[in-house]
Subunit: 225 residues, 2 copies
DNA sequence: CGACGATTTGAAATCAGTCAAGAGCAGTGG
DNA sequence: CCACTGCTCTTGACTGATTTCAAATCGTCG
């Protein structure tokens, strides 16, 4: 990326807004006019099945460009919602589209971000499809630990998981009751200690093994792009 | 897209190769040097869990740019494999990358393709996470019918499903045995008739309802981009 | 204290997986 | 034309994981 590219990014118009927990950033079916970068707090993407079941696809944190997927398509195919109180910068799609055309390297970088996102989606699908409840939870706890650390938001072995067990259930595609039991199981094995929403990882190696966790899918390499 | 953009696409160097069923187009961990457009046949993307379980993420058919996801990242995070005998055009990544930088609108179009792909991924995750076996199968059969029709490869109500029940099991995240039972159940309800690999849809409305299928996630609008 | 929401627990029911055997079908070679 | 082989699919019986329902507990807050 050149100096001119950076300047173009910094010149993008934006407005910062604070959203309450639960506020929708995008709704399925919407035709989105803006995209959004998280400055603080957490957001989720999810979709509802016809019977009301909800599947959460990803959790986003500070620095994530949250809504490129939806924004570049004609209509949103899923919901984006604030999980906690959130501060976010909103950028008009028209500006982004102009930037993409005039600054190919920036476009490439944004595209790259959506591809990494895609890689994480795939791992989650594998997780939900081919691992049992215990492994699923272990995997997600490992991923979250690492991503928080990567974003400079927490300790790998001691962090806040910003969601209720009901929400965790929709991440893991389990029932809330079973989530509770699986947490208990991992605790009993000496992997983790969960008090309220604080996760302490007591045995990283074991948790990683149970969760079949190999962080390569995060495509992390110390920098971005 | 301008005439110059189209010319640039047509000027891309490529080699056409025929691959046997089962041949790998990309392997997890590879550092890919080329991307690939399917000319005939079917390919799948999939990933293996530590215990050997396999999850198939998508099925590709004629016209699909199969490996952009992997190609633009430093290493492949999943496998791409020929499901049937396949004819494909391989294009060096270096050429694609040059094209992306010099022709922003082409980059946008390719990006768009990966986003639509992402939308389908999400629907599959929802499918696997939040629908039971019967609904999962119904959903996938609906999707495949429509995508074949969109690609001009078959009739919506009578088509070849190019995979064994073992492979279907890895699409649906079920066991092969259960796939067999679920097929039987949908047949008994008068939804479908399956003989060998031929699917006849006898009651589209019912199948669609059982599968909770709403095709909007395919982002199809008669043209591309 | 009382109320509410989130979590935990137990028991019963259901869905899907495993194992093992058999059936169907195509290809091969006698 | 008939074994024989190998593969895929089907079936039945059993097991195991997860869901559901309902009740109890816990913690927070007014």
């Amino acid at each position: 990326m050149t100096v001119a590219d950076e300047a173009a990014i910094l010149a993008l118009p934006f407005t910062v807004r604070r959203l309450r927990s639960g506020a929708f950033i995008a709704r399925e079916g919407d035709s989105p006019q803006q995209t959004c970068v998280l400055l603080s707090g957490f957001a989720i993407r999810h979709k509802l099945a016809g019977d009301g079941g909800r599947q959460i696809f990803s959790i986003h944190m500070r620095g994530d460009v949250v809504d490129l997927h939806n924004s570049l398509l004609r209509w949103s195919d899923h919901n984006v919602q604030a999980l906690t109180e959130v501060e976010a910068a909103f950028i008009p799609m028209s500006s982004i589209k102009r930037l993409i055309v005039s600054h190919p390297l920036v476009a490439y970088l944004l595209w790259y971000e959506t591809l990494v996102d895609g890689s994480i989606f795939r791992e989650w699908t594998l997780n939900v499809g081919r691992r049992d409840g215990r492994a699923r939870l272990a995997h997600v706890l490992c991923e979250f630990a690492l991503r928080l650390k990567m974003a400079g938001l927490g300790e790998q072995n001691d962090y806040e998981l910003p969601m209720s067990q009901d929400e965790l259930a929709d991440v893991l595609a389990l029932s809330p009751v079973h989530v509770s039991r699986v947490i208990k199981a991992l605790s009993a094995e000496g992997c983790i200690t969960k008090t309220k929403r604080t996760i302490r990882i007591d045995n990283w190696a074991l948790l990683r093994q149970i969760g079949d966790f190999d962080p390569r899918y995060l495509h992390y390499n110390g920098s971005r792009g």
